[in-house]
């Protein structure tokens, strides 16, 4: 083992190339070893590296898993390595035939993991790094790469922001720690740090990704210094491989349907609801529907069509049959079947000098709500070239174009539109106010009447030059360039709900951003006296960021067909703006890895960051970290415990920062306000933000303990980890009494804490000779975040909704609904006591808890109800394989969070609304108040919208079949897999809205997708 280590170490950097290199050596029959390499399921494995130990002699297997390896000496030790499989070594005496079966492994300690500024063998890791492979990423049909990682990494909580096409996700690594600064992790794509976090991740095609590494603890992230506090996500794209050129095609087509829909009143139910609302005011006296009284109701008779719809329910004798009431389904009219598709073609190949990966991808998603659409095109070129034996150059460049039609929020409008009314008038034209209600607007107008069109272009390019100076010493220069430009155009027709007869409106704006980074790196690896292995990394880096925005907004456009493409014709420019922001960073970093006997591992890092956004005189900060690991399984005393394959204990401590201060924030600024003297404009400037020269970054100190294990021939493996972090110097927009003129100021005060545990467990449940294999991976994470200290020490800050011991944001502090007042003596007596204090409670109104028992509902009656943070999240993934068939599915669980479903209940018999069980004298509900045409809405209704948003979701089920070699050879493909998949087909939650994740209101419903796909390689 030790020997192997040394061998590997010497070639630590060149490994990729060597492993994959095929050297054409003339075959000598008498000294040749040949054979077939297969997987446990009996599938031949192509591209397995077969090498002679201690020699530079390597071949790879062909498409049928066959290899032929000429030896120089008769006796040799052969090493079989293949990514994702346990390596094997065998002693042979040539000539020989050696067939090998490689076992797939989840916890391959020999595998290479990407870390900040380099790679490391998993066995040598001291920090907390989770890795997700291309295979896992492609199991999910996702718009962006983080969606694909959901449920696979313990401690990484991913939730969908929304379900409209092109929507992003929120990613939190080990919880949130910041109140106002960003909690988004830092993304590094092929070494390029992305300056605008989550926003930009949509531009990366998931199919291009080779692996994603998630750096969680301070030891792993501290080398990113001021930007590492929220964790780091390293994305490595696929690169060319030496050997036969592979052309592969991956594609799928799917349809999307809403997972859940919102149930609103149909026409007859709505009519009943209107009658109830007027019964409450005494205007509608009949206990049953009454033709004459219906005719007298304004809500019905102000539109003849509505009245006609209602009266259809009556026959000549005046008998009422609700099923005959005419209605229109607005929800149905604004939705459609969605679709999703992705097609990707890539070419990978090369030789020992030059390796290439070229790919082109297309992704399209048509939304469930009419008018929503997202399309993305990518072209990627990754090149590696060895100039000579000590100098090599690599580049990765991707071009992305994304078009988004954001549509409009039709669902919000549709659920409140009168179902008795018609969208069209007698001439078949869309009407403005269905039901003739001036507050009701026709959502169907917006399908054509509102355009929200955005186009983004992006180039991310990264080039580096690497020189081997002497043995063990390498120098690398890295140049990264990220340019993105976005154009947003919006248009609202006169005939749209947004304009409702006003002149047409349009906005044309955009932004462009450039990040340039230049890094110089020195790597030095050395082993001394056999047992002492050193690795040193030094970095010097400069980065600049430039961001420009512009926008013009106008109304009174004479030609609607021009949309937002000719703002010059507008009669009135409403606003026009442009802005420039720039920042620069200077950094130095050093890292030392030290290993003693390969089993005691130490990593020390330090980074010094300087930033232009900080005030003069305090521009620099230092971020150190240290980590220790002990490979217990390598100790002598463990050798008897043969079931232990791997056992490693590691611990780390370090400091990282959160550089989320915008440029110019330390200086304060004035805000533009215009005033006029008669018609002469005067540009005014009012005090805007308060200057704050003391503003600095937040610092997070984190301690981490973890145990990596692998037992029973790697059948059970995983990691258990616990951490504790404190974030100090918290940036907070401290709310101020505005009597001084400023409502708030951004300051570094306060402290938060995060502590949690994470578990990842992978098991091989079955691995039979017959080829049946069943793997399970479980991830579990529990994070508790809490405010420890605020401006005033350990006092709650109610004005900001900050409470000691509770999460820093999204805590709900409000009055508590305990039911509906009923018409009984006990309640009447209670109500009388409240009403004596100015309340207006009566049977059928919302009852709140009177916390202090003073018979007055005031701010003193607020409770800490809960928070949006889940208590724990987890995922369980199962994978089955049998003779070319594969099946996998994943459940994702989020428990203990609270959310708000703002149902918008007005209960005044006017707009349509959710089908709820409201209070009536005959059916006294205890959940929802009465309907009453006399009010604008029930008091305290908002307080009834809090609810538990725990859920269990089946994220996907996929069934695939890989065609056997016989068929493939006929089709001239080296691999061919077809699959069907259902994405997000099932959800269990007590939440009564659309989806507790990403659709807690009336947004686009969450989708379930049914798709078929092909993976083929030629």
């Amino acid at each position: 083992m030790k020997e192997l280590c040394c061998y590997m170490m010497k070639r630590a950097f060149a490994m990729y190339c060597l492993l994959l290199l095929t050297l054409p050596v003339p075959a000598q029959d008498n000294l040749t070893v040949k054979g077939v390499v297969k997987s446990a399921t009996g599938e031949p494995l192509p591209l397995v590296t077969v090498s002679v130990k201690g020699e530079n002699n390597t071949v790879t297997t062909d498409d049928h898993g066959r290899y032929v390896l000429p030896l120089k000496k008769a006796k040799a030790t052969l090493l079989f390595t293949y990514t994702g499989y346990a390596s094997q070594q065998h002693d042979v005496t040539a000539p020989a035939t050696l067939d090998i079966t490689l076992a797939a492994t989840q916890a391959n300690m020999e595998s290479i993991v990407v870390i900040g500024y380099g790679t490391q063998k998993k066995r040598d890791l001291t920090g907390s790094v989770a890795s997700v492979s291309a295979k896992d990423i492609n199991a999910v049909a996702a718009t962006n790469v983080v969606q694909a990682v959901q449920g696979r990494v313990a401690g990484m909580n991913i939730s969908q922001d929304a379900w409209k096409p092109g929507a992003g996700s929120t990613v939190r690594i080990r919880g949130s720690r910041s109140i106002t600064a960003s909690n988004d992790p830092l993304y590094i794509i092929d070494g390029n740090p992305m300056s605008r976090g989550n926003v930009t991740i949509n531009d990366i095609n998931p199919s291009d990704i080779e692996s994603i590494e998630i750096l969680k603890d301070a030891s792993a992230t501290a080398i990113y210094g001021s930007r590492g506090a929220n964790g780091v996500i390293l994305i490595t794209t696929k690169r060319g491989k030496a050997g036969k050129t592979t052309i592969s095609y991956d594609g799928y087509e799917g349809i999307q349907k809403p997972l859940r829909t919102i149930d609103v009143w149909n026409a007859a139910e709505y009519a009943d609801y209107v009658r109830d609302a007027y019964r409450a005011t005494g205007k509608y006296t009949s206990p049953t529907p009454d033709r004459q009284q219906d005719q007298d109701l304004n809500q019905f008779n102000q539109d003849p069509y509505v009245l006609e719809s209602v009266l259809m329910g009556y026959d000549d004798q005046g008998n009422y049959d609700p099923s005959k009431v005419r209605g229109f389904d607005w929800m149905d009219a604004v939705t459609q079947q969605g679709s999703i598709r992705s097609h990707q073609l890539s070419v990978r190949g090369g030789n020992d000098k030059t390796k290439t990966m070229i790919s082109a991808g297309y992704f399209g998603n048509k939304g469930l709500i009419k008018g929503m659409d997202y399309t993305r095109y990518n072209i990627r070129v990754n090149l590696d070239h060895n100039i000579n034996d000590w100098l090599k150059v690599s580049t990765s460049t991707v071009l992305t174009r994304a078009n988004e039609q954001a549509g409009s929020n039709l669902y919000v409008l549709a659920r409140q539109t009168n179902p008795l009314a018609s969208p069209w008038n007698a001439d078949g034209e869309l009407v403005l106010n269905p039901g003739n209600d001036p507050l009701a607007l026709n959502p169907l107008l917006d399908i054509d009447g509102i355009v929200n069109d955005s186009r983004k272009d992006r180039v991310i390019s990264n080039t580096n030059l690497e020189a081997k100076i002497v043995d063990g010493l390498r120098f690398r220069m890295n140049f990264g360039y990220d340019y993105r430009t976005a154009r947003d155009g919006s248009f609202q027709s006169t005939r749209s709900t947004a304009r409702a007869g006003k002149t047409p409106w349009a906005r044309y704006g955009g932004n462009s951003g450039t990040d340039i980074i230049l890094e110089n790196l020195l790597f030095y690896d050395k082993t001394l006296w056999n047992d002492h292995r050193f690795g040193i990394t030094l970095l010097q880096s400069i980065q600049t960021n430039r961001f420009e925005t512009f926008a013009t907004e106008a109304q009174g456009l004479p030609y609607e067909t021009q949309e937002f493409y000719n703002l010059g014709s507008a009669t009135e420019i409403l606003s026009t703006s442009s802005r420039l922001e720039k920042w620069q960073m200077l950094s130095l970093m050093a890292r030392i890895n030290y290993a003693f006997k390969g089993k005691y591992l130490l990593t020390l890092t330090g980074r010094r960051d300087g930033s232009s956004v900080l005030a003069q005189g305090s521009k620099y900060q230092f971020f150190p970290s240290a980590a220790l690991a002990w490979r217990i399984s390598d100790e002598q005393f463990m050798q008897d415990l043969s079931f232990v394959n791997e056992l490693k204990l590691r611990t780390s401590y370090g400091k990282t920062g959160n550089a989320a201060i915008g440029p110019y924030q330390t200086q304060g600024s004035l805000s533009l306000l215009r005033y006029v003297w008669d018609e002469n404009v005067m540009i005014g400037y009012a005090p805007g933000t308060m200057p704050n020269p003391y503003l600095s970054w937040e610092t997070t100190a984190q301690a981490d303990v973890g145990l990596d294990f692998s037992f029973f021939n790697n059948r059970i493996s995983g990691t258990i980890e616990a951490y504790h972090s404190y974030t100090t110097g918290l940036l907070m927009p401290r709310k101020l009494p505005i009597a001084s003129g400023f409502p708030e100021v951004l300051t570094n005060v306060g402290k938060t804490r995060n502590k949690g545990i994470e578990l990842t467990l992978s098991t091989v449940n079955f691995d039979t000779k017959g080829g049946f294999r069943w793997n399970t991976t479980v991830v579990f994470s529990r994070n508790k975040e809490a405010i420890v200290e605020l401006v005033n020490g350990k006092e709650d800050d109610i004005g900001n909704n900050w409470f000691i011991g509770y999460p820093a944001s999204n805590v709900f502090y409000d009055q508590k609904v305990i039911g509906v007042w009923q018409n009984n003596t006990k309640d009447m007596e209670e109500m009388a006591k409240f009403n004596a204090n100015g309340h207006n409670f009566k049977p059928g109104t919302i009852r709140l808890a009177d916390k202090n028992g003073d018979y007055k509902i005031t701010t003193d009656d607020r409770y800490l109800l809960g928070s949006r943070r889940p208590d724990w999240t987890g995922g369980i993934t199962n994978e089955f394989a049998y003779k070319g068939f594969d099946c996998s599915f994943q459940f994702y669980v989020s428990q203990g969070a609270m959310g708000i479903f703002d149902k918008g209940l007005q209960l005044n018999g006017r707009q349509n609304m959710l089908d709820i069980d409201y209070w009536t004298p005959d059916k006294p509900s205890d959940k929802y108040p009465m309907a009453n045409a006399g009010w604008l809405g029930p008091d305290y209704i908002f307080e009834s919208y809090y609810q538990d948003v725990s859920y269990v979701r089946l994220r996907y089920v996929t069934l695939g079949y890989s065609l056997p070699a016989m068929v493939r050879s006929k089709l001239k493909t080296s691999s061919l897999r077809v699959y069907v998949s259902a994405q997000n087909p099932w959800l269990h939650s007590k939440f009564d809205g659309l989806d507790p994740e990403g659709a807690q209101g009336f947004e686009t419903p969450s989708t379930k997708t049914f798709m078929i796909g092909i993976n083929a390689a030629f």
């Binding site: 200077l586 006029v676 008669d678 009012a686 308060m690 401006v791 100015g838 309340h839």
Partner: protein, 594 residues
């Protein structure tokens, strides 16, 4: 190898040393505080300080805060703040959100004025002395106005008169008397610093400062039970400063009350001070005068009607009380009622003209049956003050009228007399919310009423009657002026008198005033008639300590809940929660709200 490392490190150090300036931050798009060290900066700060006076014309909240829950207005069907502001329910408390926005707007204005006053003190020779004096006067005038709104609305509030660029969380509420003293000091300064007229129309002038000072003295001097720091001389001062305005001859009443509200006559001789709104929306910071929205009723849903810019976008927010409609005015002789309220509409939608048909006991004559009731341009809605006794067959009655007939029996929270003062037919589209009418804060008629009230309160009824008659004469129908048909059809006037002057019927004598059971209440009503809907009512009721009494008498919505403590609004919870240290609740919050 060592050499390589050495050289590399040396190179790195060089790069870093060369990059020392690399981290400097140069502001390009923003403007920083040093701008106020220049004359241009001060002028921009002055313009910004004027902005908050637009606020009360820009949103429904202020319109509701100043009019709802009074004797004159109650809630229309769609009023957003009906429970809090008209019905005085328990939801009118410190967490009533818009209250904080209102509070913030005023304190932002105060901070801007404080900032510029300080900058003016520092600029030295950077700005001409004469100009500095005028700008100082303007800032003092604005600051006084903002504090005047605060003190009337909330009573005791923090009194901040110097700008603060650092964090401050400690604020004690000042005594009401101290706030009035500050307001009077500021206004007194403004009267000496400000010129008679300004080159820029819309800037504060000496007349505006006099008027404000008169109103402030009258307000403080009106206190009987309230503690405003009132002095015996306050009423004299009110009369004095009001007379300064009147005798300056810089302003003149517009001859016809109706012409005051002509959108094309905004810059009229009667305006003393008005918030300026431009016809260019951008210059209003994409806001504008939105008062035209709130007083309308659902005329557009009536047969033969459609929504137009002329008649406005009816939001059904503020509905006149029965007191306003039936009791307040001498509708026969006082032209202000029908000039203030729109009571009939002309058909503007030929497509929906109703037809004569049989309804209940009404059968149209055979020659009319099935024919349109009226033609395009004819009267299609008529709102009247008539009240039909119980038992009247209303359906048949309505069917028998050749227009949509709306007596009191048919009026409700979506059907009522419409205040036309704020209508803005120059908006580009019938649904446009942004209007361009200047927001008049002080006009000469009010100055006369202040003078009249002050003299009357002093017992000088002769001068009071003289001042009052200036306003009442203008309110009367002039000789030869055609009265509305309501005059002879409904109000009991003689058709023969339809163009006779009512001036003699409108004027009052010292004896009339002396004989009044309450001169103050009479003046309160006179202000109601003249300044109806001009955002003065709430302040007049609290100033005269008549809020509870009047609401109980005339506003059925608020009658049950209104309490003496409602004379002040609750201090916003956001303010209290952010204080550090925070005092006991009795100290930080107004009585009745905790």
């Amino acid at each position: 190898m060592n050499a390589v490392i050495k050289y590399s490190l040396a190179a790195l150090l060089l790069i870093i040393a060369g990059c020392r300036r690399f981290l400097d931050e140069k502001v390009v798009s923003d403007i920083s505080y040093s701008h106020y060290n220049t004359q241009q900066g001060i002028e921009s700060g002055v313009a910004a300080a004027y902005n908050p006076i637009r606020y009360q014309f820009e949103n429904e909240f202020c319109a509701s805060l100043y009019e709802l829950g009074t004797d004159m207005y109650w809630d229309g069907r769609d009023a957003s703040y009906k429970t809090q502001l008209n019905r005085y329910e328990a939801t009118l408390n410190s967490t009533f959100d818009p209250m904080y926005d209102y509070w913030s707007n005023l304190y932002k204005g105060i901070n801007r004025a404080n900032t510029i006053l300080e900058a003016l003190g520092k600029i030295g020779d950077g700005m001409p002395e004469a100009l500095k004096k005028i700008r100082t006067g303007e800032m003092a005038f604005l600051r006084a106005n903002y504090y005047f709104q605060l003190v009337q609305t909330f009573g005791r509030v923090p009194l901040v008169v110097v700008p603060e660029l650092g964090v401050r969380t400690e604020f004690k509420r000042a005594a009401v008397a101290d706030i009035y003293n500050q307001i009077i000091t500021d206004l007194a300064l403004a009267t000496t610093n400000l010129p008679a007229t300004q080159t820029d129309y819309g800037r504060a002038t000496q007349g505006a400062a006099w008027h404000a000072l008169a109103l402030v003295y009258l307000t403080r001097g009106s206190a009987v039970n309230d503690q405003r720091g009132q002095k015996a001389t306050d009423i004299d001062s009110a009369a004095y400063y009001a007379d300064q305005v009147i005798n300056s001859n810089r302003y003149k009443l517009v001859a016809d009350f109706k012409d005051l509200w002509d959108i094309n006559n905004q810059k009229n001789s009667e305006v003393i001070f008005a918030a300026q709104f431009s016809k260019t929306q951008l210059y209003n910071n994409n806001s504008g005068n939105r008062l035209h929205l709130f007083w309308g009723m659902t005329y557009d849903l009536k047969p033969g009607m459609t929504r137009t810019t002329e008649y406005g976008r009816p939001w059904n927010r503020l509905r006149p009380t029965n007191f306003t409609i039936l009791q307040l005015y001498d509708r026969r002789n006082d032209s202000r009622f029908y000039k203030t309220y729109q009571s009939y509409w002309l058909c503007n939608n030929a497509a929906s003209i109703p037809k004569w048909e049989k309804v209940g006991a009404f059968t149209p004559p055979a020659e009319l049956a099935g024919k349109p009731k009226f033609a395009f341009g004819d009267t299609s809605i008529w709102v009247t003050v008539e009240q039909w006794p119980a038992g009247t067959k209303l359906d048949s009655l309505y069917a028998s009228r050749p227009y949509y007939y709306m007596p009191m029996n048919r009026q409700d929270n979506a059907n009522f007399f419409v205040l036309r003062k704020h209508l803005d037919p120059t908006r580009p589209g019938f649904n446009d919310e942004i209007g361009f009418r200047d927001g008049v804060l002080y006009r000469l008629a009010e100055t006369y009423l202040i003078a009249a009230e002050a003299y009357g309160r002093k017992g000088d009824f002769a001068t009071a009657a003289e001042r009052l008659n200036e306003v009442r004469k203008r309110a009367a129908y002039k000789d030869g002026e055609m009265k509305p048909k309501d005059y002879w059809l409904i109000e009991g006037g003689d058709y023969a008198d339809r163009t006779t002057s009512t001036e003699s019927l409108m004027t009052v004598t010292a004896g009339d005033l002396a004989a009044l059971p309450s001169f103050v209440e009479f003046m309160l009503d006179e202000r109601g008639r003249e300044l109806n809907g001009e955002q003065k009512r709430w302040f007049d009721l609290t100033r005269t300590e008549l809020l509870v009494d009047r609401v109980k008498k005339h506003n059925t919505g608020g009658a049950n809940n209104v309490r003496p403590h409602h004379k002040f609004r609750p201090i916003p919870q956001n303010h209290i929660d952010r204080l550090d240290p925070v005092g006991p609740i009795e100290e930080e919050q107004n009585e009745g709200y905790y």
